[in-house]
Structures are given as C-alpha cells and as structure tokens.
C-alpha cells in the first residue's frame, strides 16, 4: 500500500476515535441547561468527523485518481534511504534534547550545545570556529530576546539561580 493510503488509514483511525468521543462520550458531562440549546459542544465536531471519515475513506479506496507523477527530482519516500536519513534523525533527537534541557541547563548552555553539536553532526570539524560562532549566536540571541524584546529567557542553569 502506498504511503498516502497508509496515512489516510491512520487519519481514519484518529477520526473514528474523535467521532466516538463526539457522538458518545462528550455530551455525558453536559449541564442540563445546555442540553436545551440547539448547539452543543459536540455538534461541530460531529459534522467534522463525518466529513473527515468520508474523505479518508475516499483516499483509502482510491476514489480520486491521481495523475502519474513526474519525477521532479524531489525527495520521495521510496528513495528515502538514499538520503542522509541518519543525520536527520540525530538532528531531530538533538531538538528533543534541547527542549528537555532548556530549563535545567539554561538558555545559554543549551543553545551553545545545540548549535555546536548541530554543525558537528553535519560534518563540521573546525572546532574553534564552531565554538566561537555558537557562543556569539547564543549570547546575541539571548540579549536580543531578553533586553530588546523584553521576553524573559532563563540564561543560567537551574542550580546557579537557586531553582
């Protein structure tokens, strides 16, 4: 089965869960006064879920015929392994690590490490330049966001600010 149909299948499952909630469980908690209203919190979701189930079924069953795709040289799922998939996965993991470490180790350290390791993963090995660029960028962005925009970003690790 082609990727678009797999995706349609997954969306269909999500829509069925959504529809089940809208039709059967959501209105249980509705206060009696709201039950007299012509519109309930579940009304709009009910309409949406029916539409989405029909559309995902249409894709799954191939109702609309897609034209033969020309090879535009763009990345396709079938040739995914020919590309730098490993690098992409490691960089995405680095983003997750950044999200988890941003508070505990502070903005400056987290950003420095993210930029430094990011270019390392991509194959850069000029450590002095990497370190300098990352340090300047982390400092400048923090200053811009904190002083110019007035949005607070905790710069230091939690243990250094007594958190």
């Amino acid at each position: 089965m082609a990727l678009d149909r797999w995706i349609a299948f997954i969306i269909l499952l999500i829509c069925i869960t959504y529809a089940y909630t809208a039709f059967f469980t959501m209105d249980g908690l509705l206060p009696p006064i709201m039950q007299r209203s012509p519109i309930w919190p579940s009304s709009f979701p009910k309409v949406l879920s029916i539409g989405a189930i029909l559309m995902s079924l249409a894709i799954l069953l191939g109702v609309e015929k897609a034209p033969e795709k020309e090879d535009t040289g763009d990345i396709t799922f079938a040739r995914l392994r020919e590309y730098k998939l490993g690098q992409a996965i490691i960089l995405l993991s680095l983003m997750v690590a950044y999200a988890l470490l941003l508070r505990p180790i502070g903005f400056l350290a987290a950003t420095f490490l993210f930029l430094f390791l990011g270019s390392f993963i991509l194959g850069e090995r000029r450590f002095v330049i990497m370190g300098t660029v990352s340090a300047i960028a982390a400092g400048t962005v923090w200053w811009l966001v904190d002083s110019v925009l007035g949005i607070f970003l905790s710069p230091l690790p939690l243990f250094m600010i007594g958190g």
């Binding site: 990727l3 678009d4 797999w6 995706i7 349609a8 969306i11 829509c15 959504y18 709201m34 209203s37 012509p38 519109i39 919190p41 009304s43 709009f44 979701p45 949406l48 879920s49 539409g51 989405a52 559309m55 995902s56 249409a58 894709i59 109702v63 609309e64 015929k65 897609a66 034209p67 795709k69 990345i75 995914l80 590309y83 730098k84 998939l85 690098q87 992409a88 960089l91 995405l92 983003m95 997750v96 950044y98 999200a99 988890l100 941003l102 950003t111 993210f114 930029l115 990011g118 270019s119 991509l122 194959g123 850069e124 660029v133 960028a137 966001v145 925009l149 007035g150 949005i151 970003l153």
Partner: protein, 507 residues
C-alpha cells in the same frame, strides 16, 4: 474613505512605523534569501516580536514589510544562485539565473525589483479600490453567510490544490478544523478532546503548528538532500555590478508589468490560488504572446521572463490581502498566519475592520506601498552586501534554521512542551509532504476553525437548528457554490478520463 485614508497616512508615516517597514523589509530580504525559511516561517518567527510591540497597526506594518522582503529575498537567491527560497519565485529563476550567468546579475535584480515595485504598487491601488467595496457588501452578511463564505473559501483552497489532490486537501482542511476544536474554547467553557493532558487545555499553539508544518519539514528536506540546501558554498555569486537598465529595456518590460500586475492581483484575490500560481501563469502567458524571436529568448535570460513572474507574484501577494482584510478569510498559508497574528493582537479582520479601525486598514495598504518603495530604493543597492549571507556554509546554516524554528515556537509561549509538540508535528508534516498531502489547507483550517464554529453556532442559535441553510437564500447559494467548487474539478477529470479511455477503445 478619505478620512480613513488620512488616518492611515498619519499612522503609517510615524517614525516608528517607517522604521518598522524598513526593518521588516531588510529582515525579510535577509532571511528570505536563505533556503528553508520561506515567508510563512519568517512571519511566524516574527509574530512574538510583533505581539510584544502591542500596537496592531505597527505590528501588521512590520509583518507586511517582512512578507514583501521575504518574497524579494527569494527572487534574489533565485537569480543569483538558482535556489529559490520561496515557491513563488521559482519562475523568476527560469530567466534570472541565465542572465546572472551571463554576468548581468545586476540587471536581472533591477528588473526584478522594478517589476515587484510596479506589481506591488498597482496591487495596492487595486486593493484600495476593491477592498472597501467588498467590505461594504460584506457588512450585509449575517453569521450564517459568514459561515457559508468560510466554507466557500476552504472549498476553493481545496479545489485549487490540483488534479488528484482535492480529496487530500479537503481531508487536511478537516483535520485542521478538528485540531482547532482541541482545548477549552471561548464558546462553551469546557475542555474538548484534551485527553486529560493539562498542556492541551489551551489548545495547540498556532505558531508551533505553522513552524511544524512549514519550517521544520523544509529543514528536514535540507538535511536529507545536501543538493537542496544550495548556498553559494563553493559557487561564486559573482560580482553584482551595473544595476541600471536602459530606456529601451524599460519600454520592453512596461506592458508585461502592466498586464501581469492586473492578472496577478486577481489571481491573488482567489482563495487558494496565490502568488505561486500567479507567477507561473504570468510567465507562461507572456511567453505565449511574445513574438517568435522573443519566445526563443525565454529561458535563456529574457528580461520579460523576469518581469512577468515578479510583477505577478507581488501583485498577487497584495491581492491576497483583499479576502483577509475585508472578509477575514485567508486565501493562503501566509495570510492565514497573518490572520492568526491579528487575532492574537485582538483585532478581528473582516468588514467591521474598515468601520471600527480604519487607521489599521489604511495604514497597512499605505505601508505596503512604502514597503515596495523601500525594496526598490534601499534594498536593491544593498543587495551586493546582503547577498553575502548566501556564502554561509550549510553546516552552520542548518543548525541555525532549526534553532530559529525552535525559538519561534518557544518565545511566544515560554513552554518547553511546545517544542516537543513542534518536533512531533514536524515529523508528521514531513510524512504528509512525502505522501503529497498539501499542508497549507491544514493551517488555514486550523486558524479559521474557531471563527467557523463561532458563526455556525450563532446561526444555529438564531434559527434554532439548521433552518438557516434553506431560509437564507444567500447562505444556500454560497454553500451550493462550495459544493460546485469541490465537485466540478473531479467531475471534469472523470469525464476527461472516460473520454480518453473511449478514444483508446475506439482505436
């Protein structure tokens, strides 16, 4: 109208706002040149900054400046290194890059800037004429017509998605609408579909979603395919000199600019069509109507081939503001993000905007004109210097793009969970892109969701049920139009296929 225009002039010509236009254009050009960050991502990154400014007129002026700058930046990288940062400037590279290879990069850039300026100016004038007229009609609309109009807008976006893509575009729109129902909406004061997760009480952040749908998949594509992140790494952008064009050349491109500005504007007004279609269509039309010798020139460095897509895409950008400002309906991903920004700034775009806050409406139109002027007289001479950004090596560029994507989602909400949602949605959006699911309808659906539900609910309450559909002829007409928009392309495609099969059988 005159009082509004004067109020707009007074607002636009304050020192801060002029600074915002200039700053916005420069930032937009600078970032728009880089691969991986299109206007949508740049505007999404700038939204927390715009919200910090507080004043809606100033914020919108900044964001419009960024938008125009980003489109211009995209043209610059198309011309200089054949790497369009934005889809709407792909057509510019057809002739811009060959001309730059001939050592005439300066001329190509000037033609692009002049055409963009003219396109933007004509677009701004048409916007000033058509928007008030449309808004006065829209003032007669009730919530049921609004609901129907939004359905028409969303159907048109799906209908323009292309052959074989309509079902996918509709599904994406519905998915966007469904995502908008997550959280505690203002309408019912009760959490919906939060699955007990506290972080979902406020729903999904629209900036996070915009970043996840556009910036992150593009960045992942850049990592996957090193050829895609083509910066001037190892390739010289060449000396950009002699920005002048001759009078003869000016005369040659003038009619092209005139035609394409008009055509581009009206394409831009249609929901879902947008700048990309306008630029390709503009290029194709001008090539077809050119003389035989000029036709041969296309693709090899014709200045007409640069003028056509550039004037068309800029006029279309301006045209896309018509449905946004008058009806509150975004026709493209970029205007959807602008709508999100306006809502965050407590401004509700729609016909009331012109009545309640005319200074915002007119200041935006005037600043669009100013933005185009800034691009022509300030950005163009600075291009040789700004173009240095194209020499940033890929190994440094990509971590920065990823970092700015993270920052865009984080700054506005100061919530690290948003970053995890960003990465999660980013991976899903990349899978959608692999499978040819269009992503703009999802975002537009998500942003329009609360407005659509609001109007639907109000109409239901007023008519005590679904009676508004048949009791209000305009609502019925609009909903009928929505059905036609969705069904017609599929029907025609089916007929064409059957006819083709019939011919084959006959053979």
């Amino acid at each position: 109208m005159i009082e509004g225009l004067i109020a707009g002039l007074v607002t636009a010509f304050t020192f801060t706002n002029i600074l915002m236009v200039i700053g916005g254009c420069l930032i937009g050009t600078f970032i728009g040149m880089l691969p991986g960050l299109g206007p949508m991502s740049i505007i999404a990154i700038m939204i927390p900054i715009a919200i910090t400014i507080g004043d809606p007129a100033t914020a919108l002026i900044l964001l419009s400046g960024v938008y125009y700058g980003a489109v211009f930046g995209g043209s610059t990288s198309s011309i200089l290194i054949n790497a369009p940062g934005v889809a709407s400037t792909v057509a510019t590279s057809f002739d811009g890059y060959p001309l730059a290879r001939k050592g005439q990069a300066g001329k190509a850039l000037t033609v692009a800037a002049v055409s963009s300026f003219a396109g933007g100016t004509i677009g701004a004038i048409l916007l000033a004429i058509f928007a008030p007229a449309l808004a006065s009609v829209a003032l007669l609309f009730h919530s049921s017509e609004y609901f129907a109009l939004m359905v028409v807008g969303l159907s048109a976006i799906a209908a323009f998605a292309g052959t074989g893509q309509i079902t996918k575009a509709l599904l994406m729109t519905l998915l966007g609408l469904m995502m908008a129902t997550v959280g505690e909406g203002v309408l019912f004061n009760m959490p919906r579909f939060t699955m007990g997760v506290m972080d979902l009480q406020t729903g999904f952040g629209f900036i996070t979603l915009a970043m996840a749908l556009f910036a992150l998949p593009e960045a992942i594509y850049l990592v996957l395919d090193p050829n895609r992140s083509k910066t001037a790494d190892g390739e010289s952008t060449g000396e950009i000199k002699d920005l002048r064009i001759t009078r003869e050349e000016g005369r040659k491109i003038a009619p092209v600019i005139g035609r394409q500005s008009l055509q581009g504007f009206f394409i831009g007004v249609l929901p879902g069509a947008g700048a990309t279609i306008a630029s390709f269509l503009g290029y194709a039309v001008e090539r077809n109507i050119a003389s035989k010798e000029e036709q041969d020139e296309f693709g090899k460095g014709s200045i007409k081939g640069i003028a056509a897509p550039e004037s068309a895409n800029n006029a279309a950008c301006t045209g896309s503001f018509v449905p946004l400002l008058t009806l509150g309906i975004p026709g493209s991903g970029t205007t959807a993000i602008l709508l999100g920004a306006l809502i965050a700034l407590n401004v509700s775009p729609g016909p009331r905007l012109m009545v309640d806050e005319p200074q915002i409406f007119w200041a935006v139109i005037i600043s669009m004109y100013l933005g185009n002027l800034v691009l022509l007289i300030l950005n163009l001479p600075l291009i040789p210097y700004i173009a240095k950004v194209l020499s940033v090596p890929r190994n440094y560029l990509i971590p920065f793009i990823l970092f700015f994507t993270l920052m865009g989602a984080y700054i506005g909400q100061n919530n690290a969970t948003e970053l995890l949602i960003l990465v999660g949605f980013g991976v899903v959006a990349t899978a959608f892109r692999f499978a040819d699911y269009p992503l703009a309808p999802l975002l537009i659906g998500f942003i329009l969701g609360p407005l659509l539900e609001n109007n639907f609910s109000r109409a239901m309450q007023l008519y005590d049920g679904m009676a508004f559909i048949w009791e209000r002829p305009m609502t019925l007409g609009l909903l009928g139009l929505a059905v036609v928009l969705v069904v017609l392309p599929s029907y025609r495609q089916r007929r064409a296929r059957l006819r083709a099969e019939g011919v084959a059988d006959g053979d």
